[in-house]
Symmetry: C2
Amino acid sequence: MTTTTSSRTRLSPDERRTQLLDLGVRLLATTSLEELSIDVLAEEAGISRGLLYHYFGTKLGFFEAVVQHAADDLYRQTAPPAEGEPLERLMGSITGYVDYVVANQPGYRSLVRAASGGNDTLRRIYDDTFRALADRFFAVDTGTIDLPDTPAVRLVLHAWQAMTEALVLRWCDDPAGLTRDDLLRVIVDSLLPLLAALP
Amino acid sequence: MTTTTSSRTRLSPDERRTQLLDLGVRLLATTSLEELSIDVLAEEAGISRGLLYHYFGTKLGFFEAVVQHAADDLYRQTAPPAEGEPLERLMGSITGYVDYVVANQPGYRSLVRAASGGNDTLRRIYDDTFRALADRFFAVDTGTIDLPDTPAVRLVLHAWQAMTEALVLRWCDDPAGLTRDDLLRVIVDSLLPLLAALP
DNA sequence: GCCACTATTGAATATCTGTCAATAGGATGG
DNA sequence: CCATCCTATTGACAGATATTCAATAGTGGC
């Protein structure tokens, strides 16, 4: 939706940066990292190849910025409600996550795929994000469930997050007769039994 | 551990093929697909670039063969015991999976990373493998648990597999004070509550 | 309306994937 | 033990893609 296509369009660095990041998120949703060339990207953005290097240094640098952008977006948009009972806020956090994934499937899939298929930096961005989401759990849960912050609990919580992710993504592909509320119940109800199995 | 480094080493196609596949599994465990160049691969194997193309046609073709190789290995080595009580065989199947991942971390990590980061073909190999593992569950469970083969049950089973995978892989990195038996208990005990949450 | 600043370009370079005719290991038959 | 044939293997080449950098041109301030 660019107004004119004069030979060059000069934007402020911030505008250009976010334009490119948004485009990256959009393209990475349908194309995998190694399939996507800088040429295509530049053409799609209506700029020269060189400009991408000016802003992000390298192709990988660009992807890392894109993934970080998507991760930040996820974290921000799934903030639990600031007020209310702890249990309610916990539910709000989970609901927020589910709704976010459903609403942003392409972007979220980019994040997951880039992270697990990518290099250490990309994986670290993903891991840090999920660690931050887990941190919110401990912050919200003040006296609701007796949830000590131990390595074992962290381990199980991580596994539960992986389960939730797989569940929601596949549910998007094929709801298998389950409503959104059914899905939420499976997610919520599975957490306590999981923790209970710890010694 | 090659005996001599005469200018060329001529092997039978089968030997060379498996040598290259094994090398691929090993390298793909620590390096991502786009980071790994054919040059490095060829040098590591002590052969020319051309030979890789002779056997696998293309870089992607090679990776697909590597992933299929790892997937077949996983499926074969985690076969449940042919005899015994259904519940016992079910436990055997789960134990087999856990022990396999622990023993073959590099190969298993190759599989996971290539699958989630890769193209449709790679993801399909991974999915088919896990569907086959789920099939074994239904085959083994004849009358033990009341486990109907419905889309909803499949969905939850898939999520439980994802959880198990994340749990075992992270446990390998850091056991968090849990023994192998603790781990198995968490995995096994989580399945029924998950299924119970279905409507 | 001119100037300075810097966002932007495009041509040049480096590196990587993929092709193919030429080369050489080694088994076979005499 | 040697010549020959089959085919596993190579290395030089072509095409594409990532990366660099000196030159170019919008834009805001004076």
